[in-house]
Symmetry: C2
Subunit: 222 residues, 2 copies
């Protein structure tokens, strides 16, 4: 897919603006585990996801993590350029959850184009609104939904993303996604095992009863 197809405002740019974009954009590969953006430590710019999966999360003062949302093919990572957005006062971390192929847009170029073009500025608005909505959904989950429901929904999501019922993931990693503690996740997974929903292995979780899992996940499926 050509890079212009990822940017809905393309036809509203002048030829000169399009050239500026094309000249500045670079394809970039990121290996699984790469930290692409680390809060206010950097301002790398925007990333368009061609292939792969990014994880956007926060890290507390004590090092506790929680995943805010993930970005998939065709998604655009905005907060890796948070320095160009007045009003952003929080730190997010963006990492490659899988090997990924991205387009990179330098922050200054994007900022100029936002200032010149209402189409680019409005598109950026939509992106931010979308991310805000993701966070509000998570906020509601944290405040009002039970952890077993959130855990079950996470397992369903992993099963669908990885297209397998045998999830190679540690309890610690799940805790970091859900903003919980490993011991709590382990306890809950053992409960799921007692209910014969999953079977726990060494660093793996085998989903035995998809139907029961979906039922447990009901309140927390996106």
């Amino acid at each position: 897919m050509k890079v212009q197809e990822y940017l809905p405002f393309w036809k509203k740019l002048t030829k000169e603006q399009q050239n500026r974009f094309e000249y500045a954009m670079r394809e970039r590969k990121a290996a699984k585990g790469t930290i692409l953006h680390n809060g206010s430590e950097d301002c790398v710019g925007l990333f368009i996801v061609q292939q792969g999966q990014l994880r956007v999360y926060t890290v507390s003062e004590e090092g506790k993590e929680i995943t805010l949302y993930r970005l998939f093919e065709r998604d655009i990572c905005l907060f890796s350029a948070s320095c160009i957005m007045s009003g952003i006062e929080f730190d997010l971390v963006v990492s490659a959850e899988t090997d990924a192929i991205l387009y990179h847009i330098p922050p200054k170029v994007y900022q100029e184009l936002m200032r010149e073009s209402a189409a680019v500025a409005n598109f950026t608005n939509e992106l931010m609104a979308s991310r805000f909505s993701n966070v509000m959904w998570l906020f509601d989950q944290i405040l009002y939904k039970r952890l077993d429901s959130r855990l079950a929904a996470f397992l369903v999501e992993e099963m669908e993303l990885l297209e397998t019922k045998e999830l190679k993931i540690t309890h610690e990693m799940i805790a970091q996604h859900l903003g919980s503690a490993r011991e709590v996740i382990s306890r809950m997974l053992k409960y799921f095992q007692n209910e014969q929903i999953v079977k726990l292995g060494r660093n793996s979780i085998l989903i035995l009863d998809e139907k029961k899992l979906m039922e447990a996940a009901k309140e927390s499926l996106r």
Copy 2:
């Protein structure tokens, strides 16, 4: 203050655009307690706060409330026009916490101006980013800070806003602000009373020891 002084993009508008704004804007008074916007039930438009205080909050399926942030003089309420922003998928409620004098901007007019003017679109971005930052701060409070700290900070904030040490507020109302339950708040306030930080009266809380209160509030002061 003239309405133009509330809108930093004013000089970047054409005369025709300025006229369109001025023609559409109306001063509006809202009595304390008025619900100005109720989630997806309406799309009333934007409000500029001339005088008074607005409360922006969410209500869960079970009716539990939590205050996301407040808006004060010179602030602009954006989400009362959420229908014009693609990507907003959550419901907020906006109420007048005090009698208020507002300027009202109809959603269609603002939407047209966002589409025409990069300055208006970028300003809207900044507003949204600011609100997003407020919510991320609250999210961090909910995830990582203790309720006693949040309660103490709330009392400090009320004391400063109302300019009095005798707060006429019920435990239920505090619970609705903090997303907690009345019994939990009552228990915690009794604890503060035992520590001689406050004295509880009938529907009132008298702050006795401001210094101790600030100390308890430390982790949760904005």
